[in-house]
Symmetry: C2
Subunit: 232 residues, 2 copies
DNA sequence: AAAAAAACAAACAGGACTGATTAAAACAGG
DNA sequence: CCTGTTTTAATCAGTCCTGTTTGTTTTTTT
């Protein structure tokens, strides 16, 4: 057929050469991807709770009937969109980490890793992910959707961090602690948009965090982790 | 009149002895308080986005018309409920801090303060507050409501912390850093319900945090704050 | 070329929600 | 007891949302 046939993305058509796939299947997969992209954009622009099937369809440039063909219920749309979001988050973090210059080594490299995570956390995708997690407290369907890929998600983050901080990955519990300290402090900070003197406080905490990370791995055993108080 | 007249709360009728206020005004104030209590309970039980005026009215045991009399729009109801929530949050934290035994001193006392904040953060009221803050990104009305009392809220938290850590309050930037490290790490942790090995990770981080707080105030100037890397 | 299947689109029905209106009950003051 | 005010309650209208049904167009299969 003489119409232009844009190549579908890998995520939508699996394990087949383009020439083996009918034009209809390609077109259908492209529609599906447009819908998922539109759903993510609606999460970002409207907030999760304001997203409706009509708005996603409009943003995707398809009719509601067409969208219902691909996702027979709103819940199935949300589920597919959340899985899609997970994929994009992983890709986003991996991309930011791979952008760190190979010439950077030692503390400068690790600081760049911390900053890459901060950029990741303050990006639209993670903001939306955080909103979904927050909304899931009172939305059992959403909670189940998020939980179903949470372990895979954490696994990938762990592997990325082990690659990024290769010199630290064999330090056992100390490594876990360092990753958690970074994660929770930065996620708490990123989530707190309503606060005074934000830039000053962000800068101070990023500096403090980088120093603590260096310390966690410099100190001897039962130092950063094991002791609870020093003699007064 | 011979009917039983329950005494209204101070929050609903201000600066007047009960005997100077008509029964009708007392009754109206009590209805208003019941509505606000019901709204907070709906935030907790249903999640902010699932709260409707019908549900709040039902939970309060009043009709929608009655509720509309007190709060002519849903926005006004939300605004009053958020201010009410702020008051309860302040009261909750103040109460938890005042429950710390006076006999506790030094690191044990400070550790108790950290744990009081953790209990505060994981309580229903703060969970709801966090959800409201998260939802406000895509809800300008809600954001304006929260911002209008954010400064007063932070002011009270700062005063509580200065009272709790009186021995540290004169340390300037170091004190601000310590409070922020505690706040953001714990808020990040409290907000992360979806994660594996939660209890183990919470325990480790709480211990680490207490140690860091002690360190921040023990080290000399340009130590915890100023340095970024140690000589490798 | 024709029939069948898939993708897409439009219309409809039912339910939920908010704000407004009207009515009833309770209260205050003379 | 009467009148006016306030509080409370019931009903209505309009809007929005989702899922279902029906119809149209495109593509695939025979």
């Amino acid at each position: 057929m003489a119409t232009k046939k844009p190549k579908p993305t890998k995520t939508s058509v699996e394990a087949k050469a383009p020439s083996d796939i009918s034009w209809q299947a390609q077109k259908s997969a492209m529609t599906r991807d447009r819908i998922l992209d539109a759903a993510i954009n609606c999460f970002i622009n409207l907030g999760y709770t304001n997203v409706t099937t009509a708005k996603v369809a409009q943003a995707a440039g398809v009719s509601r009937g067409a969208m219902l063909h691909h996702f027979p219920s709103k819940t199935e749309l949300i589920q597919a969109a959340v899985e899609y979001l997970h994929d994009k988050l992983i890709e986003d973090y991996t991309q930011r980490v791979s952008n760190i210059p190979a010439a950077l080594q030692g503390p400068a490299r690790r600081r760049a890793g911390v900053e890459a995570y901060w950029e990741h956390l303050t990006g639209d995708l993670f903001v939306v992910y955080h909103e979904l997690c927050t909304a899931s407290r009172s939305d059992p369907e959403l909670k189940a959707i998020l939980e179903s890929s949470q372990q895979a998600f954490e696994q990938h983050v762990r592997e990325s961090n082990e690659a990024l901080f290769a010199e630290w990955k064999d330090r056992g519990e100390r490594f876990l602690l360092a990753m958690d300290v970074t994660k929770f402090m930065m996620e708490g900070l990123a989530a707190s948009r309503l606060m005074t003197h934000r830039e000053e406080r962000v800068s101070r905490l990023m500096n403090y965090l980088s120093d603590r990370l260096e310390e966690i791995f410099e100190e001897e055993e039962s130092s950063a982790i094991g002791r609870h108080t020093k003699g007064a």
